[in-house]
């Protein structure tokens, strides 16, 4: 029997944990799961456990030597110098026990989601443990060890021969995935993120368009700090639609970092829950328009794990399963259960109140600058379309 959507989940996803004070905390996934269960939006039969990615699968993207280093590090068998060369043992990606197993499970979770969609057992699949878009071929970076999304894209190409559109709405540039497919015309990457002027990783400029045969298949829209909902959504919606129309993907993989919110401690984009309602909505529409519904969504960043991520990520699932008309109060049982653990007061409603933050000066200028970035990013598509029109 065909299920419409699956939610890849197990408590074991929590094994990916650097230390108690690290901003990347997979408790977010459990908080989201719990919120969805509490409102009866997630049924038992929709939940599937993640599998573990094999070494062979990891090596679709990662160097064997790197995988071996991660294994050794997790068993305390890697010297500090060697570890640092692989980006392991830094402030961002400290070494922790069994880090290979924990990381391979996150990759496996995303592959599980992919398998469900591509074997036709589900139309959409959500794997919130994934979205580790900074992982490189041979180096850990920005809280990411293995790059589940890049592995999944390569896996879809090899196993199913599909053209994949990767859409990254994390506030940080999706550099790892972009560089992995920079010269590949059968993968289109689109990242919208806060400008790298200050923010990690500093890349993601409009001019990064791909190279060789892949030229024209990487799209980047860097938006200014303090962009806010309206301008962010304008950029996202326009670009996503035009890129999908240009690339005509077989499947869409969305990375749903939830770190552009006003409350997020690491970034400065100042969006609200309004944006997190729209992100999956547009993805859902486009998946049906171009890909017969095939849509895999993964998690990503998100460092206000109490006030932002559970609501934002729950909305992806609610959108997938067409229950997104929810609003009003969050379930009391969820609030009662988690408020004692949260260092900040939990929000009481699904949507953010008006006046969440003081008005931002220069709003019009920021919106204008972002619109220019969109224009530049989409220029090749738009001029190509004009040319085709002329020749008709």
């Amino acid at each position: 029997m065909k299920q419409d959507c699956v939610f890849v989940y197990s408590d074991d996803l929590q094994m990916y944990k650097f230390n108690d004070t690290h901003p990347f905390n997979q408790l977010r996934v459990t908080l989201t799961y719990d919120l969805l269960r509490e409102i009866n939006a997630l049924k038992d039969e929709q939940i599937v456990p993640p599998r573990v990615a094999t070494d062979e699968e990891l090596e679709l993207i990662h160097d064997r030597a790197y995988v071996e280093a991660v294994k050794a590090a997790g068993k305390k068998q890697l010297s500090e110098d060697v570890a640092l060369n692989y980006g392991l043992g830094t402030e961002d990606t400290p070494i922790f026990p069994n880090m290979h197993e924990a990381s391979a499970l996150l990759v496996g979770a995303t592959l599980t989601a992919v398998d469900y969609v591509l074997s036709g057992k589900a139309e959409h699949a959500l794997s919130l443990g994934g979205g580790l878009h900074h992982g490189f071929r041979g180096k850990a970076s920005g809280f990411c060890i293995y790059n589940d999304s890049a592995v999944a894209i390569k896996y879809m190409q090899k196993r199913y021969g599909l053209r994949v559109l990767y859409v990254d709405t994390d506030a940080h540039h999706g550099d790892g995935v972009q560089w992995a497919f920079y010269d590949d015309p059968n993968v289109c990457t689109f990242s919208i993120h806060e400008t790298g002027r200050y923010l990690f990783p500093g890349t993601g400029n409009v001019t990064e368009r791909g190279q060789g045969k892949g030229y024209g298949f990487s799209f980047n829209i860097p938006v200014d700090a303090f962009t806010e909902d309206e301008s962010w959504l304008d950029a996202y919606t326009q670009a996503f639609r035009e890129i999908a129309d240009f690339f005509k993907p077989d499947i869409i993989l969305t990375q749903n970092g939830a770190d552009a919110h006003y409350y997020d401690p690491l970034t400065h984009l100042s969006v609200t829950m309004k944006t997190y309602r729209e992100i999956p909505k547009i993805a859902h529409e486009i998946a049906h328009e171009y890909c017969s519904g095939r849509w895999v969504a993964v998690g990503g960043g998100g460092y206000d794990i109490w006030r932002v991520v559970p609501r934002a990520w729950a909305l992806i699932w609610l959108q997938m399963t067409e229950q997104s008309n929810i609003s009003g109060n969050l379930p009391k049982a969820w609030l009662d259960k988690w408020q004692p653990h949260s260092p900040v007061p939990l929000p009481l409603e699904w949507d953010d109140p008006k006046g969440l933050y003081p008005p931002i000066p220069r709003k019009a200028e920021i919106a204008e600058k972002n619109a220019k970035a969109v224009e530049k990013a989409l220029y090749p598509i738009r001029s190509q379309r004009q040319n085709t029109k002329k020749s008709l």
């Binding site: 830094t90 920005g142 923010l199 303090f226 220069r362």
Partner: protein, 214 residues
């Protein structure tokens, strides 16, 4: 940094008897704008640029006119008073040279033989490498008094947090009593280091209000 560290050694060249048409084709194929002209011993004898080719080509209003001109040898249009560089020149000097002579390419010659080339693009690429902007990093700017010893004090704060610095730039503030130190650091989470710097009394420039840094 010296020229031989950044120059391209695989140089596309032609000989004086090659035709203008061949040169035009080469520019197009290789996406380049300059072709050094060498003799049989690889000694530099001239330079042909995309502008020289354009001057020799018919106007777009007469594309089919006098095409026989393009069969003339490049020796008829090449510049022979070419400014050249040496592999041991400083990269900074090359930048100044480009600016001073309004040129955008420098053939590198050793013992009269062409051994490399540097273009504006290479120079810009090197600059990007020098700023560290090609590696994943966050950028932090610290406004400090223009006094000796400050850079090492600030750098020590990064060291204490075990944060690797991928590059440092020092540039003048509008107020000459201050300097701006620009650090590219290998971390996605600069919150701790920003508060350390502030606690140590430094002014950190970081988005707090749109283009109004606190």
């Amino acid at each position: 940094m010296i020229v031989e560290q950044i120059m391209k050694t695989n140089v596309t060249t032609l000989q004086p008897y090659n035709t203008i048409a061949e040169a035009a084709q080469l520019l197009k194929q290789q996406h380049i704008r300059h072709i050094p002209i060498v003799d049989d011993d690889n000694c530099l004898i001239g330079l042909v640029t995309d502008r020289d080719i354009r001057d020799a080509s018919p106007s777009i209003f007469h594309v089919a006119d006098r095409l026989e001109d393009l069969q003339k040898p490049v020796s008829t249009i090449m510049k022979t008073d070419v400014i050249t560089g040496h592999p041991l020149d400083f990269v900074e000097e090359v930048a100044a040279l480009f600016f001073e002579h309004r040129i955008s390419c420098l053939p590198i010659v050793k013992d009269g033989k062409l051994i490399g080339i540097i273009t504006e693009t290479d120079l810009l690429h090197t600059l990007v490498q020098l700023t560290g902007a090609h590696q994943p990093s966050s950028q932090i700017e610290v406004k400090v008094p223009n006094l000796s010893g400050i850079l090492s004090e600030v750098a020590a704060i990064f060291g204490k947090r075990n944060i690797n610095i991928s590059s440092v730039l020092v540039y003048p503030d509008q107020d000459e009593h201050y300097k701006i130190l620009v650090f590219r650091i290998q971390t996605m989470n600069p919150i701790g280091i920003i508060s350390d710097l502030k606690n140590a009394g430094y002014t950190v420039l970081w988005p707090s209000l749109p283009e109004v840094s606190s």
